[in-house]
Symmetry: C2
Subunit: 459 residues, 2 copies
Amino acid sequence: MSAGWFRRRFLPGEPLPAPRPPGPRASPVPYQRPRFLRGSCSSPGAAEASRRPDSRPVRSPARGRALPWNAGYAEIINAEKSEFNEDQAACGKLCIRRCEFGAEEEWLTLCPEEFLTGHYWALFDGHGGPAAAILAANTLHSCLRRQLEAVVEGLVATRPPMHLSGRCICPSDPQFVEEKGIKAEDLVIGALESAFQECDEVIGRELEASGQVGGCTALVAVSLQGKLYVANAGDSRAILVRRDEIRPLSSEFTPETERQRIQQLAFVYPELLAGEFTRLEFPRRLKGDDLGQKVLFRDHHMRGWSYKRVDKSDLKYPLIHGQGRQARLLGTLAVSRGLGDHQLRVLDTNIQLKPFLLSVPQVTVLDVDQLELQEDDVVVMATDGLWDVLSNEQVAWLVRSFLPGNQEDPHRFLKLAQMLIHSTQGKEDGLTGEGQVSYDDVSVFVIPLHSQGQDSNGP
Amino acid sequence: MSAGWFRRRFLPGEPLPAPRPPGPRASPVPYQRPRFLRGSCSSPGAAEASRRPDSRPVRSPARGRALPWNAGYAEIINAEKSEFNEDQAACGKLCIRRCEFGAEEEWLTLCPEEFLTGHYWALFDGHGGPAAAILAANTLHSCLRRQLEAVVEGLVATRPPMHLSGRCICPSDPQFVEEKGIKAEDLVIGALESAFQECDEVIGRELEASGQVGGCTALVAVSLQGKLYVANAGDSRAILVRRDEIRPLSSEFTPETERQRIQQLAFVYPELLAGEFTRLEFPRRLKGDDLGQKVLFRDHHMRGWSYKRVDKSDLKYPLIHGQGRQARLLGTLAVSRGLGDHQLRVLDTNIQLKPFLLSVPQVTVLDVDQLELQEDDVVVMATDGLWDVLSNEQVAWLVRSFLPGNQEDPHRFLKLAQMLIHSTQGKEDGLTGEGQVSYDDVSVFVIPLHSQGQDSNGP
C-alpha cells in the first residue's frame, strides 16, 4: 500500500523553502523515539529519498508489485505562521499483539505474522506552539495500540464476549451482547475514544513537567480488519473520494458547531465564566444602547432564534463570539475539541478553557470491504488550512483530474497531496477563484483504499 | 386542504368498538375550550359527519374545489390499554396576529384576511393516564400562537431584524444578522421550542393544582409560509412519502437514542441517582458472579464499547436498562422527551424522572415551496403504535398503493389513515408478516402537501 502525504505553509507567491534542520522541531519537548514511523515529504519526490527504518515491504495493490512504505522520517517544513511548526503528523503500521483467552494478564509474544495488523495515519494541528502536536504525534499511536491490545480478544471473535475472559457467567450472555448489537468495530471505536483521552492526559502531564503550553487538534485514520476508522477531535477533515461519490468521513468541532454543548456546560456550571462572560449568543456583541431593547438571542436549549429584553448582564463578552472561521470560544480558541490546552486561560484572567474542550473524538466507520473499490478511490485527510480554501467538491475534482492519467506513477498519491497544497496557493487552475489563498499551515494525506480490506491480516 | 386522521386501539381480531361518550376523557382534567379545533374521526367516513365550528372553507387543491376542513371535534376511541384514552390529538388553522413596528405592546386586531395563517397538527401519546395529553392537546397550540405572535414582525420581514422594534442601533445590524444566517424559519423553530417549554410549565402547574399525574410525547407539524415544520419530543414519527422518496421528518427520543445526554447528566449530578442506580451501561444487569470480572460497558463519553473490571457499585440497577422497545429510563419510562411527568418518581423511591426529561423538541424544516409536489405527496404522522409494527417502507408502500387509484374520493386521506391503522392489526395484505400486531394506542394523520405553499397567506 502506498500513501501520499504532503504538508506546507506557504506565503502567497513564495517559492518552496528548503527543508530546515530538525533541531527546533524536536526541542524543547523531550524527544520520544516513536514506535511508529512519522512520515512526511518535504518536496516532490522526497518520499523515495526518505529513510526507511521499516524494511517490511507493503504491497502496492494498485500496481500489483511490492513497494516500500514511503513513510520515512523526514523534515517538516515551516514557513511563517509560528516559530516552530504547529502541524505534525504520524503514519505507520499498527501491530496489535494477541492475548489468549485465560491468559489475561500475560501477553504472548507471537511472531510478526501472527500479529493483528492495521495502518495508522494522523494529523495534529497545533496552537499556542508545537509542543502538544509533537507529543501527540509521538504518543497517540502507542495509546491506541495499548487500548486495542487490551480488547484484542474481542476484536478477533465473531462478537465481543461479555467477559474479557471469554467465560459466560450467565448462559445467555452472548444473546445480551447480540441484542445490544455490539460488534468488534464498537471495540475499535471505544479504543480510539479511550486512546485520545489517555493521550490527552499524557500531554497534560508532559507539558506541566516541562513548563510548556499548547494544544492541538487530532484527526486519525485507522485501517483494521477491512474497515477504515476515522476519529476526529478538532477542525481537520477527511473525505472519501470515488468516481461517483464524495463522502464526508468526519465533521468539524468548533465553538459554532458545538455551541449547544458549550452553552449547556456554562448553564450547569456558571462559575466557569467567573462573571466575565455571558452564556447567551447574540448576532453581535451588545452595547449600552441595546439596554432595554428586545434583541435576537439563543440559549443552550435552542436551535432556533428568539428575542429577549437586554439587561446589564447581556452586555458581557459572549462565551462564543464571531461567526464562521472567526468564531472563538471565550474570545480565545477556534476549536472545541482536541488534545492539550490544560493550562490555557483567557488573557489576563484565571478563566480556564479546558473544561469546555473535549478530547473525545467522533469516530466514523467506513466498511471498506463492502465497497466495490476502484483503483482511484482515495481518502483525503487534511488540516483546516486546506478546507478553508478548497471545498470537498474542488478537492474531488482535483483527485479525479489527476489520478486516472497517472496510474503508472508509483508516487502519484504523494504528487496529488502536493498538488492539493499547491491549489491552496492559487497555483492550480484558478480553482480557488478570486485569489483565495490559505495563510495557515496545510497538511494532507492521500490514502488509496484499493486493498485496505485485503491488507490487514485479521480473521 | 383536506387531511385524514384516524386513531384506534384494537384488540387483535376485535371488531371496531362503538364510540364512547366524551365524559371520561375530559374529566378529571379541568376542561378548557380549545381555541383551535381538535379533530379526529371515530370511524371511516365520520369526518363528513363531524361538527364544523370553523365555517371558513379551505380549498382542496388536489381536486380544485372548496371543501370544508374535516377537522371537527369528534370522540376518540379507546379500547383497552388504559381506562382513559392516552393518545390525544389536535389540528386546526393557526391565525397569527400581526404587530406593527413601533406598536410593540399593542396588538392590532386585523380582519382575518390580514392574519398570517398556517395549519397545525399535533399528536400526544400519554402515559400514566391521559391528563397530560389532554392538557397538551388543549394548550400547546395557544402557546405556539403566542410565541409566534411575539416574533411576527421578524416572520414577515425578509430577514428578522436585530431588534424587535425594527430600529438599527448599530448601522451594521442587518449585516450581523445576515452573517449569522438567521432567517425567518429560525424564529419559527425558536417559537416551537419555546412553546413546548411553556406548555410543559402549564401542564406542571395544572397537574399539581388538580392533584393529577402523567406525561405525554408531542409530535407537531406546522405549515406556515410555504414551509412545513415538524417538532418532535418523544417516540412518535413523521415521514414524507412521495412517489420516489421516503424522507424521515423526525427522529425518536428514547433512553437509548439519548443515552449519552442522560448518562452525562448523571455524571454531572450523581445525586440524581441517590446511590440506587449506576450510570454505566452493560449488556445486561450485572450480578454477584460478575464481581472482579472485566465486562463490556459504556459511559457517557463513549459511542463505542470497552471493558471494565466490575466493582460493587456496578451491581446497582442501570440508569438505562433494556434494549429497543424495552429500554427504560430509571426502570420506569420508555421516552426521554415529552411534556408533563413533573411528579413522576421511581417506584417506592424519591428519585425523580423529570430532571432527565427534555421538553424541548427537535425541529426539522421541509421547504414545501421548493418541492415539485405531486398530488399524492403526503406527510404521515403517527404515534409509536404504528411504527412498532410498520416500517417507513411499508407505510410508503400502502400510501403509494392506495392514493393513485382513489384521486376522486374526497375522503381518501382519511381512508388511508384508517387503512394504516388496520395494517397494524394484520388486516391489510399481510404486510406486517408473522402476525405482528400492535397492542398500543395508534393515532395517524395523513397530510396532503400539494398546496401547503399556496395555502398560507404570508408574504
